[in-house]
């Protein structure tokens, strides 16, 4: 009755698919880093000069440093042992399941009478370990795949990149969830492996994009004209010049890895061992008391948000500082 093509529907048709949008974003990042009009070292120095005065970067860096320091010294500054149950006497399963704040326990306790503040502090360790290792393994896997695709090219490149595209077309958390649920007994390694797997295609596509730009660059041609061997060209001339955007992406990926790890752990796919507290796990346990004691969920969730924000602010300002297009 109206127009043959509903504008809303047409809009929807033109919208690129989920996988396409992710691929485009990664490629844009590869492009940004691959622009080779400024030499490497001065680019980094210039970026540092800009970063030093950037309040966004400083905020992100401050949060990140606080968090890392906290995670390292956690066992020494936590007022209580995470397995001790000093507030056990306060727990009344029927009337007061979660002891509130009181002297010596500024955040109160949890449903088993353990000190909440101590568990939050120590929980930062697991979160950091999962985030860092997942990103590290994802980075290693992605760099290997991206180097193979970018250096060999041709059919190998097509094969690797099609696999990567398939992985990118699956929503990442869903893929991580699927991988994690394959594990016989969940642990933090389940989290690390499943999150590393969803990071691999992102790094692979990013690195392959900037490797391709390097392959046709003048200095690679010059190296070839001097008979330099293929392996030296790949590892000495192409890889060091294309790794920049990948490192930036790794900073951003840390935040995503922490959030994803918390999400999986919340869903019960993480480490079930309560002697090793973890924010996502604490969030999952808080569900039962969400109406009586919302603060039990609020504190770990708040920590996750702040830490993820710290890494994101740092990564985004790093990306902007290194991106020649946004440079003033």
């Amino acid at each position: 009755m109206s127009d043959p093509i509903d504008p809303a529907v047409a809009e929807d048709v033109r919208r690129p698919s989920y996988g396409q949008r992710r691929r485009d974003r990664i490629d844009a990042l590869a492009q940004a880093g691959a622009v080779d009009d400024t030499p490497g070292v001065s680019l980094i120095r210039g970026a540092w000069l800009r970063l030093r005065r950037n309040p966004v970067f400083l905020t992100g860096a401050a949060i990140t440093v606080c968090f890392v320091v906290l995670a390292i010294i956690a066992p020494w500054i936590a007022p209580w042992d995470v397995t001790a149950r000093p507030l056990l006497d306060e727990v009344r399963p029927q009337t007061n399941p979660v002891p509130g704040p009181q002297p010596g326990h500024p955040l109160g306790g949890d449903d088993r009478g353990r000190d909440l503040l101590s568990r939050l502090i120590v929980g930062s360790r697991q979160t950091l370990i999962v985030g860092v290792f997942a990103t590290l393994f994802g980075l290693i896997g992605g760099v290997i795949l991206g180097t193979i695709a970018g250096a060999i090219g041709g059919a190998v490149d097509s094969l690797v990149m099609r696999i990567v595209d398939v992985m990118l077309s699956i929503p990442s958390l869903l893929l991580a969830f699927t991988v994690a649920s394959l594990a016989r007994s969940p642990s933090q390694w389940t989290l690390i492996v499943s999150i590393a797997i969803i990071q691999i295609p992102i790094f692979a596509r990013l690195l392959r994009g900037s490797m391709l730009a390097q392959r046709s660059s003048d200095h690679v041609l010059a190296a070839r004209s001097l008979g330099v061997k293929k392996r030296a060209i790949v590892f000495r001339h192409m890889l060091p010049n294309s790794i920049g955007p990948v490192i930036v992406q790794a900073t951003l990926s840390l935040a995503v890895a922490i959030i994803d790890a918390a999400a999986l752990s919340f869903l019960g796919l993480g480490n079930p061992d309560q002697r090793q507290p973890e924010w996502g796990q604490m969030l999952g346990l808080a569900q039962r008391y969400i109406s009586e004691a919302p603060h039990l969920a609020f504190y770990p969730a708040g920590c996750i948000i702040v830490v993820a924000l710290g890494f994101t602010l740092m990564g985004e300002s790093l990306r902007e500082a290194l991106d020649p297009k946004t440079r003033r």
Binding site: D36, P39, V41, H219, S225, L226, V228
Partner: protein
């Protein structure tokens, strides 16, 4: 002629070191018409000789050099003909044999010295890399030699420069460093692809003087690719003028400049601004652009832009009139037929 001492395997200096015969490079992209970038180019380079390849953008001069070096991408290109270097046809060598030759026997210098250096490793490392690759030296053994090389190409304080990154050097210094890399293994043939185009005029003169000096001192043969006739006049023994992928005129430097025969050569010479011309005199560019070319097999490619055109020019391909030292390819040459 002191060059003769450094010539290793050629029994006589008149025997060509590099002999390019009927080189053809065709670009073929899927679903597109094939494009003949180089259409039957033949020339010789004798030991110690400097040969110029001159022409405007798109005439095939860079493609010729990349084809000889085996540096054209494999996909979408066909390279035919011969490029005999020291008895071997470079075009039929395997990729790994060719890799062993590049840098050791034949080296190349490129146009843009900044982008041709790897921005993330030091100058010293880039020079020693070549020697490690071809002469089996360790990095330690190669380093003093690299300093000597930098000294020889006129880089002051060479030992300190070894630790510098490319962006810390000026444009002229970078080009000198590139020349040092190319000369690291004393190649017998050096191909310079517009080595002075990205530099300013005073530096251009220094780099050309350096090249001249090195060619004379080492007896290296030099193929000079340029669009700048001034460079050719100062440096080359023999000049080949390319148009549309074919050599349209060849001659010794003096003969070609004094009495150019092909209308295109005449046009190129006329289009050079002269300081001694009266004020207000207009420049004489060659009209049209390379895009107006006719296909060589049925006409003279230059005919649409030619002021000397006669009827036969658009009907038939002009034959090579001359030998492998002097000659031209024209039906109606300036100054009448030979």
């Amino acid at each position: 002629m002191t060059q003769h001492q450094t010539i290793r395997s050629s029994p006589r200096s008149t025997e060509p070191l590099l002999s390019v015969r009927d080189l053809r490079v065709t670009f073929q992209r899927r679903d597109e018409r094939a494009f003949k970038a180089v259409d039957g180019v033949s020339f010789d380079v004798r030991p110690g000789q400097t040969v110029g390849l001159v022409g405007e953008s798109g005439c095939g001069k860079s493609v010729t050099s990349l084809a000889i070096m085996g540096l054209l991408p494999k996909r979408g290109n066909t390279v035919e003909g011969e490029a005999v270097f020291d008895g071997d046809d470079l075009l039929s060598l395997s990729p790994s044999q060719m890799r062993d030759r590049r840098g050791a026997d034949i080296a190349m210098i490129f146009q843009d010295p900044l982008s041709s250096l790897n921005p993330v490793i030091t100058i010293g490392r880039q020079v020693t890399e070549v020697m490690e690759r071809h002469q089996g030296l360790s990095r330690k053994e190669a380093t003093p030699k690299a300093a000597e090389l930098l000294d020889r190409v006129g880089i002051p304080d060479p030992k300190a420069r070894l630790a510098n990154y490319p962006h810390q050097l000026s444009g002229g210094m970078r080009q000198r460093a590139l020349i040092a890399m190319a000369l690291a293994c004393s190649p017998r043939l050096l191909i310079a692809d517009e080595p002075t185009t990205a530099l300013d005029v005073t530096i251009q003169a220094q780099i050309l003087a350096l090249l001249k000096e090195l060619v004379v001192d080492t007896g290296t043969a030099l193929v000079m690719i340029t669009h700048d006739l001034g460079v050719v006049a100062g440096l080359c023994d023999e000049v080949n003028v390319l148009y549309g992928g074919k050599i349209v005129e060849r001659g010794g430097r003096h003969g070609l400049f004094r009495q150019p025969r092909h209308p295109y050569t005449v046009g190129l010479l006329d289009s050079i601004p002269r300081l001694d011309a009266p004020r207000g005199e207009k420049l004489n560019p060659v009209p049209g652009s390379v895009a107006d070319n006719l296909p060589w097999d049925s006409a003279c490619a230059f005919a649409p832009r030619c002021s000397h055109r006669v009827d036969v020019c658009t009907r038939e391909m002009p034959r090579w009139d001359g030998d492998d030292v002097v000659g031209f390819r024209c039906f109606n040459p300036v100054g009448g037929p030979r």
